[in-house]
Symmetry: C2
Subunit: 307 residues, 2 copies
């Protein structure tokens, strides 16, 4: 069975949207990637760090979804990373209210022995050197390494980011970040510049406007599912990435053609993620509802016309 290793934050989130607000709930990139990938019945491990305040019930959520948590370090006396944010009415932009790094500040990822031979590695948004140190612990080069990052690291650690880009296969960033990283306004030109940084596949996430996959001169586009209400966008990008990696791991096929399917699968899971606050919708997804949603994606984009 294929192994997916996800490194990323496991956190407390407190979220405000026009629809309401939460207490401190389970969040973090590692969490969403893990929950999403685990829908495919592959071996999934999260590597992260939490404090002693991290409750057993959240570990139970991981274990109920067959996620290996050996790589989640619990720091004695430490406090879990805490993020709080408020979404604007358009749900596309948000203000960060609180960022308490806590135990994340000295996070030193340790890959469990049983996942040092992972087939696919997903490097969630973290300091580029932390991402790099994960790769160095692996027994051999994985089939595919996928990296997520953000404008913050382009502003504060660009050289380190360029170092890690030389060791990965796929980058996922949003359109503004692609423009910042490449210095090109056109997304097509931006992707080409990013190839030159050593990355073979560029995935550009456009939120409600979908996602684009670039490789050489090939482009594939997957829309987001138009929804009546987006309840809470938190974690949608990580859920997308987790579904993408999980699909590739479960099929064992990393061709561009299969990446198209993987992008659709990731978009499908992201469409669930935004329907409820936090991880709520992702904790108990069943195969039937995923199948039904995949059919909705098919109806949304597939057509018969040939000239």
């Amino acid at each position: 069975m294929s192994k997916l290793l996800a490194i990323g934050t496991v956190a407390f989130d407190k979220i405000e949207t026009p629809f309401g607000q939460t207490d401190k709930i389970l969040g973090g990139a590692g969490t969403y990637i893990g929950l999403s990938a685990s829908t495919l019945g592959i071996k999934t491990a999260i590597v992260s760090v939490v404090g002693e305040d991290f409750p057993k019930k959240y570990f139970d959520i991981f274990h109920n979804n067959n996620i290996n948590t050996e790589g989640i370090e619990v720091v004695k006396g430490g406090k879990t990373f805490y993020w709080s944010g408020r979404y604007h009415n358009d749900m596309n932009s948000r203000d960060t209210l609180i960022t308490d790094l806590n135990v994340l500040e000295h996070f030193n990822p340790i890959i469990p022995d049983s996942f040092k031979d992972a087939d696919i590695v997903m490097l969630g948004n973290l300091h580029p050197l932390t991402q790099l140190s994960t790769l160095k612990q692996l027994e051999h080069k994985p089939k595919l390494v996928v990296l997520d990052t953000m404008n913050y690291w382009m502003d504060t650690a660009l050289d380190d980011l360029h170092k890690v880009l030389k060791h990965i296969d796929v980058i996922t960033i949003n359109d503004e970040e692609a423009r910042q990283l490449s210095g090109e306004y056109s997304i097509v030109k931006a992707a080409k510049k990013i190839y030159e940084m050593g990355v073979k596949y560029v995935i550009i996430k456009k939120g409600e406007h979908g996602a684009l996959l670039f490789n050489d001169n090939n482009i594939f586009f997957a829309p987001a599912l138009p929804l009546e209400d987006v309840f809470d966008p938190t974690g949608a990008g990580d859920t997308f990435a987790g579904g993408f990696c999980g699909f590739l791991a479960s099929t064992g096929n990393i061709s561009f053609e299969n990446m198209k399917n993987a992008i659709i699968y990731g978009s499908c899971l992201a469409s669930f993620c935004v329907e409820k606050f936090g991880t709520q919708r992702m904790e108990n997804l069943n195969k039937e509802e995923i199948s039904k949603r995949l059919k909705a994606f098919r109806d949304l984009t597939q057509y018969d016309f040939t000239i």
Copy 2:
């Protein structure tokens, strides 16, 4: 052979983009709709009005593309509608510099007898009562009536717009206009509100983010083709609408399934339109380049995955 009747402006445009600027060139919604629909070898007529200053060489462009111009009134001593605009660097927004209505101010559309039995009617963006007066001249209800409008008419002639909406089948508007017309932020909810106004099919144009087609609970999405450079977006929406109508007319099939194909065809033609200033790219499009571009659309969105 199917007949498409397009009513809309035929104009002089003067355009500035970050890539350069034009003199007064051929423009107008009717022009772009006509040129686009005429790629399909159907009978296409434009109903419009121009002044005596409208040059023969522009009529020649229409005739070379087999477009019937009997319905383009030439007002003696009158001046042709003139619009000038400047695009911002993002190419998604623009400032209008000049709008000289000229002969358009007293435009009273007269449908040529030979097109009073048109199969498909495209009502380009004009005063809603002008659109309505066109419909009243037809011999019988066409197979399909498609209407384009804009926020200006929602601000200044909303009651008249509601009157004409009761007589049409398909509306094409952009996302902001859909929100304004419906009072709903969610595009899905906006479409449902617009159904209640008497419109069965709602097409929401999102520019570089593609277009959505809504009918009952069905949704179809077509992306815009990602391009290295968008040279001039003028006329892209009308080109899209002209391709959509032309495709439906040429196939004689107005089912939702075939509208998917029509939306792809319209998106394909719009991707050409933006590659050069004004109508330049649309004047001499050949079948091979259209076929090749349709294949690029297929590669962009079609995938094999079935669960």
